[in-house]
Subunit: 271 residues, 2 copies
Amino acid sequence: MPCPAPRLIALASPDDPRIDAYRVIKERDLVGRGGRFIVEGRTVLDVALSPRNRFRLESLLIAESRAAALAPLLAQAPADLPIHTASQEILDGITGFHIHRGLLGVGLRGEEPSAAELVASLPERALVVMALGITNHDNVGGIMRNAAAFGADAVLLDFASCDPLYRKAIRVSVGGSLVVPFAREGNAATLLDLLVAEGFELLAFSPAGETKLKDVVAAPRTALMVGAEGPGLSAAVMVRARTVSIPMAGGFDSLNVATAAGIALYHLADL
Amino acid sequence: MPCPAPRLIALASPDDPRIDAYRVIKERDLVGRGGRFIVEGRTVLDVALSPRNRFRLESLLIAESRAAALAPLLAQAPADLPIHTASQEILDGITGFHIHRGLLGVGLRGEEPSAAELVASLPERALVVMALGITNHDNVGGIMRNAAAFGADAVLLDFASCDPLYRKAIRVSVGGSLVVPFAREGNAATLLDLLVAEGFELLAFSPAGETKLKDVVAAPRTALMVGAEGPGLSAAVMVRARTVSIPMAGGFDSLNVATAAGIALYHLADL
């Protein structure tokens, strides 16, 4: 099937007001909020332009030099999505750093469900990931990627964890942050209360866990909890949950937290 | 047990010849060879100073300000290991970038076994990871970390893959690169020949794999093979192996390659 030509809007200046949202991306990174988020790169845009993306895109911004190669992908964009093109020189002027992937977009966060609303919306059988104190963007991105890969129904993050819609987390998630419903608020105690009230079995992952992962049969509603590398989950969390370990070879410390979540999801999702 | 005071050598100049190996680390990064490698950060040093480290350290270089906090760790160092200390200003002058972890070391590669020597040295029951075309340092580091966590006996990498002793790969491996025997040479065909001749069952991991991972029982000698994200393993590799998939939820592309290796190792190592 021949691709329709994408509707491109060529820019002549980095100060064009139609791309105000792309200015000072580093500031946006630091804030990570503000109703918008940045997506970048072809793999993420692939997800962002698919029906699996839960968010609305506001616009795209691409390097002129990539327009031809990206035409098939851009043909999937909604008819009313503005797609701006500019020379690499203008792109550099707009964003303050070299966009080596030549492909950016702005998404709108829209109405974000509270953790309570998200948990209330889950089906009778549900697998939830709970991330506590995960301040590293790569790890949050990796958790979102794995949650998407294994079809987790939701990810809950405490407020100490970083935002899955932070630019780098989205990139590392290869779009998983756009796919899996999540809420980020409160602390371990409030999130645990919520899940217990909704009938979830809580699994706390730790090298010191009492049950080996392979011996765990997932309950109809299961929440798997992971904490930051190093400190791990707090004692207050561990006592409220069934503690589970992923056995490792003697003497080596521990798995990366996103990898541990991936292994747990692999076992529990049973696809 | 009280810790003996570490033997510190205070430096007064970034040009001190005793720390020549630390100069121009960025060049070393690019080359990645030369008989030496750089380790950095407390977690990696912990492994580097443990009996699990297969390599000899040549020296350490730490920020004066961290000497007290690191004393218990440094007490594990061999008596003849020079431990240099310097002000942050001098450190910055030595290495050309700010060492925010305040802790560097130089290791010696020593005699490196060929792939054939490494495979010949393996026990009767052995689990090997084979990484083909993995050019990303984070992914090679992640594979080395997971190989260490699950007690893989060796990692074979083709020459297209990056060096596990590259600075960033060591850091991401949290020392796994120092622990698991590896060889990096040749291409897929030569490495496959070697493993087949030594009686290994070859498992080729791919989303298109015919057997689900959970249905695989590890043979006494098993080699699990992973390729670069995106292209994956070549057809030439796939036809020579049993192809294995890690089932994923509909529509989501794929796992990170190091995570996939971690899940495969979790299942096959059966700890």
